[in-house]
Symmetry: C2
Subunit: 159 residues, 2 copies
């Protein structure tokens, strides 16, 4: 676990993890952070249902998300807390947040501000399909792959 | 990395990971398995758009998924390859499979066979909401929490 992630992972707003029955059938919020202090978060577009991105939250990012109703993440590459849209302006307002059965994954339905969620300039990070049923090497197929904004401009202008 | 996961992670059907530009903008399929040999997979319901579950694939699970068009996973708790539905009959037929920008997460849109995907008996694993904007301890709220099948019966009868 990194120092930054560890810092806030024992927050009193999260319940202790109890029995499997308690975790799966109870109302206590006891998210399971992994050995790096992170939990996986899936963000879907509240309108289209499309998956926009998969990212991670540490305890502090989760607290800020719950308190503000906007998505905060923890960047593994930058090892830093990250408010989605802080540089690009492409904020994610949360319509609903859910936790899964064993409480080790989070799903947020969001209203995506701006043209897209992906740092490459697309609406969604999932702009390439993996063809099925074919033998041998796989060649990806672009889907909804048009860039809706210029990431160099969006991220440079606001930094 | 576990022995089972490592066994098949150097498969020739996956490309070597190149530059960021190649990984993000190319057509070569170069999935990034983590240090345990796993990649995160989000399964959504092709009809409703709801997230059904978040699970993991190792290289072999991914190959079998691509070849068969049905979801295979790698169970971290059981440390075993796992064809979704092999016990319950609740198979997931894949309508479309996508990979994200940095190729470390997979999204599958599936036709879910049977009443549900969750081992607790629900349609989705995400049957509890996390209320937003409230201070202090969080109390989960059930959503679509009715059990659609008896997991004890479904899993016992088929084992």
């Amino acid at each position: 676990m990194t120092a930054e992630a560890r810092l806030t992972s024992r927050d009193p707003s999260f319940a202790q993890r109890g029995s499997t029955e308690e975790v799966e059938e109870g109302r206590a919020f006891a998210p399971k952070f992994d050995t790096d202090g992170l939990i996986t978060c899936v963000a879907t577009d509240a309108r289209s249902g499309d998956v926009l991105m998969v990212a991670h939250m540490n305890a502090e990012a989760m607290q800020k998300t719950i308190a503000s109703g906007e998505a905060w993440y923890f960047s593994r590459s930058r090892q830093a807390l990250w408010r989605k849209g802080e540089t690009s302006g492409h904020v994610q307002r949360i319509v609903e947040m859910r936790i899964d059965c064993d409480q080790d994954a989070v799903w947020i339905k969001v209203e995506q501000e701006g043209p897209g969620a992906c740092h490459t300039g697309r609406r969604s990070c999932f702009y390439r399909a993996v063809p099925l049923g074919k033998a041998g090497a796989v060649t990806l197929e672009f889907r909804d792959g048009d860039k809706l904004f210029d990431p160099d401009k969006v991220y440079r202008d606001r930094s």
